[in-house]
């Protein structure tokens, strides 16, 4: 009976907390994304200096600027182009892991909240940066194509690796990572106490 009570309490709190935390995240998604865009931008411009010009923030979107121009749908060298080719990347499809994790974390009855929460956010933020790099790689693969793959002196991942890393980062990680972190950090909570450790260790 006590187990059912803990489960009901957890679900009630999660549903109560999800909407306000998602609303807060929507309002704050631009400043949340800013450091991730900065780090991903540094990585990409150093990794592919001949292809990536910059990655900068525009609200919660990241704008990936290339070293190419475009004319009539064709990629052309920048010196022949009237403008620099860039792509919009939606960072929110990665960062919504944060309000989801926050709701799960604070819906669970625990002795301490803050330290675990900060560690969790830090880990999710690392995955957010990784996911953002994967999103940018996918944009370069699809929209730049051959000049991206044939860069001299740069180690470019195989197209299949980029495709799977992109799909994994977008479809699985933003929901799975918070859930997995929550299970790990809540294994001693009343909701999961004994249930997880007893069966795994036996």
């Amino acid at each position: 009976m006590a187990e059912q009570h803990h489960m009901r309490q957890f679900l009630l709190f999660v549903f109560t907390l999800l909407i306000p935390f998602f609303a807060l995240w929507t309002i704050a998604s631009a400043p949340i994304a800013l450091p991730a865009i900065g780090i991903a931008g540094m990585l990409l411009t150093n990794w592919f200096p001949d292809v990536v010009n910059a990655l900068y923030a525009s609200g919660s979107e990241a704008i990936l600027m290339t070293e190419f121009g475009e004319s009539a749908g064709q990629l052309i060298p920048l010196r022949e182009a009237e403008y620099r080719l860039g792509f919009e990347v939606n960072t929110q499809i990665l960062s919504y892991s944060l309000p989801f994790y926050t709701a799960l974390h604070f819906a669970t009855e625990k002795k301490t909240y803050l330290a675990d929460y900060l560690w969790g956010v830090l880990m999710l933020y690392g995955l957010f940066v990784f996911g953002l790099v994967c999103l940018c790689l996918k944009e370069l693969m699809v929209n730049v194509g051959a000049p991206f793959f044939n860069q001299p002196g740069a180690l470019v991942p195989y197209a299949e690796v980029i495709a799977i890393a992109y799909q994994f980062s977008v479809l699985i990680v933003p929901t799975l990572a918070p859930a997995a972190l929550w299970i790990w950090q809540s294994k001693d909570s009343k909701l999961l106490q004994g249930v997880f450790t007893k069966t795994v260790d036996s």
């Binding site: 489960m7 999800l18 499809i93 919504y96 479809l171 799975l176 249930v195 069966t199």
Partner: protein
């Protein structure tokens, strides 16, 4: 614990990669997704006859608004996560298979609620549709997976407790 995590990740990546293969997409995922669209239409039709389904698409006949059910919207990824978690956990194969079957049903029931709710939401307001489709529903589906997994762990725990008491 480390063994569970490693096995889980291994199965997850293997199943996810398998799902991405073209033959699997063509012969399993696309027909299954079309089935979801038709099932959604069948559930809606008694209440609203302005709806039609073709392929992976659900459409309103009067307004023309349509949704196409794509990767990530068919509950397959959530099912893969659940299968990986259940298989990585020590239990009998009978318990695992029953859990996978019931878990699959739980995910798909909620997923059909998601598809139908998004279909009507999109017809009303595209901005709300995008927000709820991209961010809120995926979290709710994963919450569903989480609850199914916890219920399964509790079931396993109850099964092992009498044995431990008897041994102890």
């Amino acid at each position: 614990m480390l063994r569970f995590v490693m096995t889980f990740l291994l199965i997850l990546i293997a199943l996810f990669t398998l799902e991405m293969l073209n033959p699997v997409q063509e012969h399993v995922i696309t027909p299954f997704t079309s089935l979801l669209a038709h099932l959604s239409a069948v559930l809606i039709l008694p209440f609203d006859n302005a709806v039609v389904a073709y392929g992976k698409v659900l459409q309103f006949k009067d307004t023309g608004f349509a949704v196409s059910i794509e990767a990530g919207c068919n509950g397959v990824e959530a099912t893969i996560v659940l299968i990986a978690a259940i298989c990585a956990f020590p239990a009998s194969w009978r318990a695992r298979l029953i859990a996978i079957g019931l878990g699959f049903l739980a995910i798909q029931v909620l997923n059909i609620v998601r598809i139908i709710s998004l279909f009507y939401l999109g017809n009303w307001n595209l901005e709300y549709f995008s927000w709820i489709h991209l961010y809120l529903w995926p979290a709710l589906i994963m919450l569903d997976v989480l609850v199914v997994f916890i219920v399964y762990l509790r079931y396993l725990s109850k099964q092992t407790q009498p044995l431990e008491t008897a041994v102890g």
